[in-house]
């Protein structure tokens, strides 16, 4: 229905990572604020069952189009596969706001995300600076076909190879797989082989960061012997940062994405103009600066306040 009574579907890539929880919390935060302004928002939170199943996410979007919701906030699993359902939605006048990952189309209403490539670059620079510009590093990739992590990996590779020629990348073609367990196993095996020579490791997302951290602890190489730069703030990775087992985390602002996504839908329904592209920012957090207030908000998002 029009007016102030809105059903909004928020569709993440998955549902079982803290990152998506933060987006959810942001969306709820927006809903609460809007309800104080007299709106009535029915917020639906629904992702595909698995984080890499494009087909299922397409089906989820299609189903909400069939249900004629008033707006969709979508973190597309894939920049192209989701084009068709998004265009269908727009063609039946359901506004779609893209968050987190890009879409190869311009028929969406707004795009609110981190610059992932830049994030990868930041990570590379931080790692290289800690190593004083030389040494041996490993890039452990996440999963085949995940656009956001691939951009981070590309950004990392770009800076490492172009800006720091005396750093040697000794392994960069192993994928950690979707879970902490698969990451843990893969990294254990990698470290058994390269453990003696490696000086630094980069992980493009949270499960991989934790897998590496656990494997380093097992081998007695944690605490800075091998420098680890990870991505995203999760309970365990932040804890690792505090303990000194992780030397840096590239952190995004997922709550902001969820928050702005819902707000944008409401703005569109009220015929207010929205920006086509919003950058929510990315920065490196280290043990030294993690207590600064604005970093604290990123590392410890107030999930409990908004989710139940």
């Amino acid at each position: 229905g029009a007016g102030k009574n809105l059903t909004i579907a928020v569709i993440p890539k998955g549902t079982s990572h803290e990152f998506w929880k933060s987006i959810h919390a942001g969306a709820v935060k927006a809903k609460l604020e809007l309800e104080e302004q007299g709106y009535k928002i029915n917020l639906i939170w629904k992702g595909p069952l698995r984080e890499d199943d494009r087909d299922q996410q397409i089906a989820v979007v299609e189903n909400f189009v069939a249900r004629r919701v008033d707006g969709i906030v979508l973190a597309p699993l894939d920049s192209r596969a989701l084009v068709a359902p998004v265009e269908t939605a727009q063609s039946v006048k359901i506004p779609v706001v893209i968050i987190d990952s890009g879409l190869k189309s311009d028929r969406y209403s707004s795009y609110i995300a981190t610059d992932n490539y830049h994030g990868g670059q930041l990570g590379a620079e931080h790692l290289a600076n800690m190593l004083n510009g030389n040494g041996k590093v490993i890039l452990v990739r996440y999963q085949v076909g995940s656009a956001s992590t691939e951009e981070r990996e590309a950004g990392f590779m770009n800076v490492m190879t172009n800006k720091f020629p005396s750093i040697q990348i000794i392994s960069q073609n192993q994928y950690a797989g979707p879970t902490r367990d698969s990451a843990y196993k893969a990294v254990q095996d990698l470290l058994n082989r390269y453990g003696k020579e490696v000086n630094g490791i980069f992980a493009p997302c949270e499960p991989v960061t934790i897998g590496i951290m656990m494997a380093l602890r097992d081998m007695g190489k944690a605490g800075g012997i091998v420098k680890l730069v990870g991505f995203d703030a999760g309970t365990q990775s932040v804890e690792g940062l505090a303990k000194g087992d992780v030397q840096g985390l590239v952190v995004q602002n997922p709550m902001k994405m969820g928050y702005l996504g819902v707000k944008a839908i409401v703005d569109i329904s009220q015929k207010k103009p929205v920006e086509k592209k919003v950058d929510t920012g990315v920065q490196v957090v280290t043990k030294e600066n993690m207590d600064q207030p604005e970093k604290r908000d990123l590392l410890y998002p107030p999930l409990d306040k908004y989710l139940k």
Binding site: D55, A66, V144
Partner: protein
């Protein structure tokens, strides 16, 4: 003597006919049950959109890949086998399609190559299973890994994206030609035609009967002069072509080659076939049943998304329905006996 046997034997025939009818109705009952379940628990406005023609078309489109896979899988399961490599084959063929189109091949060539690749993998499975007499479960479990690996190799570990101009023709098969009317995507028509043809083949052709015979008792079939190896080989090859076709549909739906697609779809397909009345011991099963089974799974998925349940509820409910559906079937059959 003749007259003496008559009553019991007639009764036997009648019973069997009745049971056949009940068996055919079985999957419909389950589908009806699921639909009714949603009709009852859905709040008004959700139900309005759920029970609309548009949504019906949508569900049909979402069924296509699993339905085509079920046609092939029905043959395999009736013949007493199983194929776990479907998901990987669907991924491989859909990536192959994308790679070919990207490198400028024509649609016709691409379709041919995709179906041939599906058939080739089926043939390979079939050779190992029938010539070396290895358990289908293990052979196709191995093939699951091999085909998935090949897919990633072929896709060079990333999604294969197409130039924009290719997209409309690629998407044609699975695109709704008319979102506000009653025409359906061509893919749906393909499924219906193929299902009818394969149902006829399975029930009325010599080949079809041999598939049943092998699934029911392979040793006897062989002794009766059925070329069991050849038939099994053909079953896996033909099913492979169907899985290739499913890959084509998936490609058309995603409009890109995604090496990680269709992971675990084999379990959905097997569930559809078994809900449709087939037994994993071989010798029973029907295409019509499998189609209804596939539709049931799609309705469940779609319904639970639209009704706005969290994912875990959806997983629990689908798991429960699979068990209930097959249990209901069992119960119905044992009732039919008495």
């Amino acid at each position: 003597m003749k007259t003496e046997h008559q009553p019991i034997l007639d009764e036997q025939t009648r019973r069997v006919n009745l049971q056949q009818v009940i068996n055919l109705l079985g999957p419909f009952l389950i589908l009806a049950f699921v639909v009714m379940f949603f009709a009852i628990i859905m709040p008004g406005e959700v139900a309005d959109t759920f029970f609309s023609a548009y949504n019906f078309k949508l569900i049909l489109t979402q069924t296509v890949v699993v339905a085509i896979g079920s046609i092939g899988m029905t043959m395999i399961i009736v013949s007493g086998g199983i194929d776990l490599s479907v998901g990987s084959v669907v991924a491989l063929t859909s990536v192959l399609g994308a790679v070919l189109i990207k490198s400028g091949s024509s649609m016709g060539m691409m379709i041919l190559a995709v179906l041939a690749t599906g058939g080739l993998i089926g043939l390979l499975n079939g050779v190992i299973i029938s010539v070396f007499r290895m358990t289908p479960f293990i052979v196709t479990l191995g093939m699951l890994g091999i085909a998935r690996g090949l897919t990633k190799r072929l896709a060079d570990n990333q999604t294969v994206n197409l130039p924009d101009i290719a997209l409309p023709s690629v998407g044609l098969l699975m695109a709704d030609p008319d979102p506000n009317g009653y025409f359906v995507a061509p893919g749906i028509a393909v499924v219906i035609d193929l299902a009818i043809i394969m149902a006829l083949v399975l029930n009325h052709s010599v080949f079809g009967r041999y598939i049943f015979a092998i699934g029911s008792n392979e040793a006897t079939a062989r002794l009766c002069g059925v070329r069991t190896r050849l038939v099994k080989l053909s079953v896996y090859t033909l099913s492979g072509v169907f899985f290739g076709l499913a890959g084509l549909m998936q490609f058309s739906r995603l409009r890109q080659g995604d090496p990680s697609t269709a992971l675990g779809i084999e379990l959905d397909i097997i569930a559809a076939v078994v809900i449709g009345g087939a037994s994993l011991n071989g010798g029973t099963g029907s295409i019509l049943g499998s189609m209804i089974g596939a539709l049931t799974m799609a309705v469940l998925r779609s319904g639970s998304t639209q009704i706005d349940w969290p994912n875990y509820v959806q997983e629990i409910i689908i798991g429960t329905v699979i068990i209930l559906a097959v249990g209901l079937d069992k119960w119905r059959q044992s009732r039919g006996r008495q």
